[in-house]
């Protein structure tokens, strides 16, 4: 008899858990899309953001195609999905947030995403709200492990001076995040005096980037560019505000110190 009791109990607990956690979540930004896809049951996702399927912004563009997406950013486009939880960010229009609050929708607004600790905190908050704190904990653990692993691999390497050409505004300077020596974006004469060893760019800049950069006066005399030492990384990774940032660190480290990844 005992096993069947266990089954009944599990069923009861299961249904209680399902009722307590949101079942129609709408995500309003690409960052929260990535977190939602990582943490929620597929059935909990009602809609993803307007740019969720755009590979220039979203790492999960392919995965996102399986879900409905918002057509616009305004409140009515969100409420159309009758959400019981909406995920937004501090840069969402304040008017939209106000209207959604007045409509009685529960909101989670991500305020900080500068550091990895901010990202972990966002993961924890969302995991708890979705009823999947276990998954959130697991995601944080694996991400931390990847960071530690990366640091171990890079232990004692000679720092490479890089220049982040990431014109994709708002992107995080991956180099600085990774503890490597980096500079802020300033494409002018100072760039020549810095003389970076490697240039970093986003693939959103399009093909033939080297050819095009060679026509820019400030760049064309750079030894790094002449030697073609240009690392192109996916723009969606460079601009990531989620756990995928660690993937950006890894990709960059792999390009800068290939000998450590053999």
């Amino acid at each position: 008899m005992r096993p069947s009791w266990t089954i009944v109990l599990c069923a009861l607990l299961g249904s209680a858990a399902v009722h307590a956690s949101p079942r129609r979540v709408v995500s309003q930004t690409v960052g929260t899309d990535e977190l939602l896809l990582a943490l929620a049951d597929p059935g909990q996702i009602a809609a993803l953001s307007r740019f969720a399927r755009d590979p220039a912004f979203s790492v999960d563009a392919k995965q996102a195609a399986a879900y409905p997406k918002l057509e616009r950013d305004d409140a009515e486009s969100v409420i159309r999905f009758q959400p019981d939880l909406v995920l937004a960010a501090s840069y969402t229009e304040p008017e939209t947030l106000t209207l959604l609050r007045r409509a009685g929708v529960k909101l989670i607004v991500a305020e900080q995403f500068e550091s990895l600790e901010d990202v972990y905190s966002n993961i924890r908050t969302l995991g708890a709200a979705l009823g999947h704190s276990d998954r959130a904990g697991e995601l944080i653990r694996t991400t931390r492990a990847r960071v530690i692993d990366l640091a171990r691999k890079l232990n004692g390497v000679k720092p490479v001076r890089i220049q982040d050409l990431c014109d994709h505004a708002g992107a995080i300077n991956v180099a600085a995040e990774a503890g490597l020596v980096g500079h802020a974006r300033t494409p002018d004469e100072r760039l020549l005096t810095w003389n970076p060893e490697v240039l970093i760019a986003s693939d959103n800049e399009g093909p033939d980037l080297v050819t095009r950069l060679r026509q820019v006066p400030a760049y064309k005399h750079l030894p790094a560019l002449r030697a073609g030492r240009l690392v192109v990384l996916p723009g969606s990774l460079l601009a990531s505000v989620t756990h995928y940032r660690v993937a950006a660190f890894e990709a960059l480290a792999r390009e800068l110190h290939p000998e450590r990844f053999r």
């Binding site: 057509e71 840069y91 106000t98 505004a169």
Partner: protein, 323 residues
């Protein structure tokens, strides 16, 4: 005689556009649902969408359109220039600079700061235009100081835009505002915009006769017994109030103030006593109709862009047929 009867046309258009702006949106609603929802009945979703989302948007849109068109009528009469538009004295550029400064400094996170900064910017810049032109006190000087001021203010806005270029989300918010729009308008925007615009419109209506005389030229008006100085300052203040309020709640929306007065002058003749109310109604109707278009057309289209798309070719067509 026949022309007078045309006045009902903008009224009907306004009514239709207002109903359309309540009826269309991402959430599909049938007519009975709309009627019930406005009365607070029906599903919570319907009531929220209609009362909290669409009604404020429609009210703000109507007020903004009426304000811009009325302001355009006043400016065109005052400067006796077909190209005069509400932003001539730097009102919209001043409002834009005020709003963009607040957004760029990161203080735009509450609902009130951006509209209030826009109003402040609009008044400061218009006052500057008037003060700078004072010595000659002629309309020409006012016009020229307005042009210079506009260039200065636009440069300020462009500077802030380029300074914030590295922050995509902030840049997006600023551009959003510069291209005008009625998305996510709230009760606060109705409070800032609607009553004051309605009052300014009511104060403007009796000045139709004075506008008729002023548009004949300052000296003629003077000789016909009009206190040109007083009337002119009244008109400038009212026009500034209207444009400032409209811009503060909906961003910069072009062409409404330029096209609507011209169109109605063709339909109704030059009498400002009819031109003013008709332009207010038609301006409101055009703005609401263009806003409905932004909801039905593929995402990302801004109201200011739609009014220019509709207004530009229409204006050119009108020029060709009238010339």
């Amino acid at each position: 005689m026949k022309r007078r009867s045309v006045l009902w046309l903008p009224a009907v258009l306004l009514l239709l556009a207002f109903l359309a702006s309540l009826a269309f949106g991402e959430v599909r609603l049938a007519l009975p649902e709309i009627v019930q929802g406005l009365r607070g009945r029906g599903s919570p979703l319907t009531v929220t969408v209609l009362r909290e989302f669409r009604l404020p948007r429609s009210l703000v849109g109507a007020a903004v359109g009426a304000a811009l068109a009325a302001s355009g009528v006043v400016m065109q009469a005052l400067f006796r220039n077909a190209l005069a538009s509400p932003g001539l004295l730097g009102v919209s550029s001043g409002a834009a600079l005020g709003a963009v400064s607040v957004l760029a400094s990161g203080m735009g996170r509450t609902l009130w700061t951006v509209p209030l900064a826009a109003i402040a910017g609009a008044f400061v810049s218009t006052a500057a235009a008037v003060v700078l032109a004072r010595k000659g006190a002629g309309t020409d000087r006012l016009l020229l100081s307005g042009i210079a001021l506009n260039a200065l203010l636009d440069a300020g806005t462009a500077f802030l835009l380029s300074v914030t270029a590295g922050r995509l989300e902030l840049n997006g918010q600023i551009l959003f505002w510069l291209m005008g729009g009625l998305e996510s308008r709230t009760v606060e925007h109705v409070i800032v915009g609607f009553p004051a615009i309605a009052m300014a419109c009511v104060l403007l209506l009796p000045l139709g006769r004075a506008l008729n005389l002023v548009s004949l030229g300052e000296q003629t008006a003077q000789s016909l017994g009009v206190d040109v100085r007083r009337v002119r300052s009244q008109l400038i203040v009212l026009s500034t109030v209207l444009t400032a309020l409209a811009t503060s709640v909906a961003g910069i929306i072009g062409f409404v103030g330029l096209v609507v007065p011209h169109l109605l002058r063709v339909l109704l003749g030059p009498d400002h006593r009819r031109l003013l109310p008709a332009s207010m109604m038609a301006g409101a109707a055009l703005t609401l109709a263009c806003d409905v278009a932004t909801r039905l057309l593929p995402g990302g289209l801004r109201l200011g862009v739609v009014t220019a798309f509709v207004g530009g070719p229409f204006f050119l067509w009108m020029l060709r047929t009238l010339a």
